[in-house]
């Protein structure tokens, strides 16, 4: 029983890591008033660029840097379109996802070695492996927390850091001000455009890292659609966490947990059909969304930035 719990916790954390990176990234982006629906595309691009890099260089660090760069480039496009060009943010984000999905699939068929028909699919590269922390990893059940890869350990640090930055620093205050009321923030002397650019790009960087975790650790290698809709689930997780980085963990654990249970059930053989089991995360997302929206209308205050997805232009009311 303890072994089962430990294994579920271990898989939950492994599956949840990419979700937490992306959720915290998107929380920061949305807090500045920019909605980025391009997550699915950015995660896929992060995953494919990271895997291609690690395949040729063997360097995991370089792979992470390349994935981050990919995230920076894609989120800069979104930032330029939605901040400078004041384009519709929903459509701009969708374009990032459509382009990212297509381009990642293109690269997956193009970046591979000639011996594999230029395909990246089916290749094996270097990957992150769990690092045991002495003593702590021997704890019953909770030991699973300390037998993870480095990216998961970084998550333990990022969550409190992201919370502290947002609620306890001047920059975090400015960020929230821009998302709540850009007019007021502007009047206070905050450069609204600059703040929105910074956090849209910072968010994109974290999202791409989440994608990289998939191809470097969770499911090492590259397959088309390796994200399986995680980019979209993250958008629901942002609502679930009420735009607070410290709560990002619960949603990620819930969905990571669903993955873990799927994994266990499939491994042990079950009478529940596989498609039904695979539907679970998507149906749970809808249910969570309905519940959260209901809570929001009951309480009137959950924390959605008031100026979310509203383009800002100086001098317009």
């Amino acid at each position: 029983m303890i072994a089962l719990l430990a294994s579920i916790l271990a898989i939950t954390l492994r599956a949840g890591t990419s979700l937490i990176y992306a959720t915290i990234g998107e929380i920061y982006t949305e807090r500045s008033g920019i909605l980025n629906l391009g997550l699915e595309g950015m995660m896929l691009m992060g995953a494919v660029s990271a895997f291609a890099t690690v395949y040729y260089t063997g360097s995991l660090l370089l792979a992470l840097l390349v994935a981050m760069l990919t995230g920076i480039i894609l989120s800069s496009i979104h930032a330029f379109l939605s901040i400078t060009m004041r384009a519709n943010q929903v459509v701009s984000g969708l374009s990032i996802t459509l382009f990212g999905t297509g381009f990642a699939s293109f690269l997956g068929q193009r970046l591979g070695p000639e011996s594999n028909g230029h395909y990246l699919i089916g290749l094996i590269g270097n990957k992150f492996t769990p690092v045991k922390i002495p003593f702590l990893s021997d704890l019953p059940v909770l030991g699973a927390l300390f037998n993870q890869d480095i990216l998961t350990y970084i998550v333990y640090l990022i969550i409190p850091a992201a919370w502290f930055f947002m609620y306890k620093t001047r920059a975090g205050l400015n960020l929230r001000a821009v998302g709540e009321s850009p007019q007021t923030a502007d009047a206070m002397g905050i450069n609204v455009f600059k703040v929105r650019y910074i956090y849209t790009i910072l968010g994109g960087t974290l999202v791409a890292l989440g994608g990289a975790h998939l191809s470097l650790s969770y499911a090492p290698g590259w397959t088309d659609n390796i994200t399986g809709g995680r980019g979209w689930i993250v958008i629901a997780l942002v609502i679930f966490s009420m735009w607070n980085p410290s709560r990002a963990i619960w949603g990620a654990l819930l969905f990571g947990g669903i993955n873990a249970i799927q994994f266990r059930l499939q491994a042990t053989g079950t009478t529940i059909s596989a498609p039904l089991l695979n539907m679970l995360p998507y149906i749970v997302t809808i249910v969570v969304l309905v519940l959260m929206t209901w809570v929001e209308t009951m309480n009137k205050k959950v924390g959605a930035p008031a100026a979310l997805a509203v383009p800002y232009m100086r001098g317009e009311k």
Partner: protein, 359 residues
């Protein structure tokens, strides 16, 4: 001297036509640069894509085969977008339509008179698509739940449902384990007129024209435009926005459901892998590039279908990934979005003299 954007009083007519054309050209150039990076000649690639999609009648019929679902889903998505209802669930609505049509074709054929099988199958497809789209519409109107995520999540649910059926309950017992239902009876086949191009084309074109008339010449169409453009004014004028959203989204889903019913009754003649190949997502590009105009959607759908067929062709002839066509499509929306600023704003050069004038 300074450049500023000034809001136009009315939307620029010239920009409406110019922006999509320029966007397409920009997309060709950007993808061309990409091709050069991958040491491929863009001119040769584009030429073979064009020949592959439009070079002969046979090739053109294949382009039409892909254009039909894009026309229908594009019109449907465009209608939803007019209301600022971000229905990105056309893929799932299409699949669900295909599943419902399959249900009729496989299990009702024995009970229905033969001439009724096909119309019933298509009708059920339409209803299924509408109902599937109805879920996010009802949740949005009555519970204010974000429609983008719900419609998207339902894509996965629909695709997995279809998979569960053709791998499981509906699998052809004589198919040697091949994932797919058995072939539909002939009575459930939608006639083709040339190659694989089927009469769904004429239905799609007709519906595009009808939708244009409905949007521009009827009270309901006016209410849809009004509710999307200026909900406050619409409410003042007594428009029931919730009702407008629900009816419009049911119609939107019906279009995609019909596309799915056509795919199974005219192309595959069975439910199998390959029904969900992204038409519902490309529909977003079709709708946006057509500026949500149903007649323009018909033409844009042919162009986008050409990119898909052309992409398949360069894969066969030049060994380039077929995703090529999708990359080209994906690139189109960026310049489109950047350009949309010019339909609502004009660029004004402020020099000292104009500044004084303004004062």
């Amino acid at each position: 001297m300074r450049l500023v954007f000034e809001k136009r009083n009315s939307v620029s007519k010239k920009a409406i036509i110019l922006v999509p054309v320029v966007s397409f050209l920009v997309s060709l150039i950007l993808t061309g640069i990409l091709l050069i990076i991958f040491r491929t000649n863009p001119f040769v690639t584009y030429a073979s894509m064009f020949v592959g999609a439009f070079g002969s009648w046979i090739n053109f019929t294949e382009t039409l085969v892909k254009a039909i679902p894009l026309m229908l889903t594009g019109i449907g998505v465009g209608l939803a977008f007019r209301l600022r209802f971000w229905n990105i669930g056309a893929e799932g609505q299409l699949v669900f339509g295909g599943v419902a049509a399959t249900w009729v074709a496989l299990f009702w054929s024995n009970f229905l008179p033969p001439f009724l099988v096909l119309p019933t199958a298509i009708l059920m497809g339409i209803i299924a698509g509408a109902l599937w789209a109805g879920i996010p519409a009802f949740l949005k109107v009555y519970l204010k739940v974000d429609e983008t995520l719900v419609s998207l999540m339902l894509n996965y649910v629909a695709i997995l449902t279809a998979q569960g059926l053709y791998y499981g309950a509906w699998i052809d017992p004589n198919g040697m384990g091949f994932p797919g239902t058995k072939l539909f009876p002939k009575a459930a086949w939608l006639p083709r007129f040339s190659g694989r191009a089927h009469v769904g084309l004429f239905i799609a074109i007709l519906l595009g024209l009808v939708m244009w008339v409905v949007l521009n010449r009827t009270k309901w169409g006016f209410e849809v435009k009004m509710s999307g453009h200026n909900p406050r004014a619409a409410r003042v004028m007594g428009v029931n926005i919730g009702k407008t959203i629900i009816t419009a989204i049911l119609v939107s889903g019906a279009f995609s459901g019909m596309a799915g019913a056509f795919e199974v009754t005219a192309i595959s003649h069975r439910l199998q892998q390959g029904l969900a190949i992204g038409y519902g997502y490309t529909a977003i590009i079709v709708a946006w590039m057509a500026q949500l105009n149903p007649i323009a959607s018909l033409f844009v759908a042919v162009l986008m279908a050409g990119l898909l067929v052309g992409g398949d062709q360069v894969q066969m002839m030049m060994g380039l990934p077929a995703a090529m066509g999708i990359v080209l499509q994906g690139m189109i929306l960026f310049p489109m979005l950047a350009g949309s600023l010019f339909t609502d704003y004009r660029l004004k050069i402020i020099t000292k003299s104009t500044k004084e004038e303004a004062v």
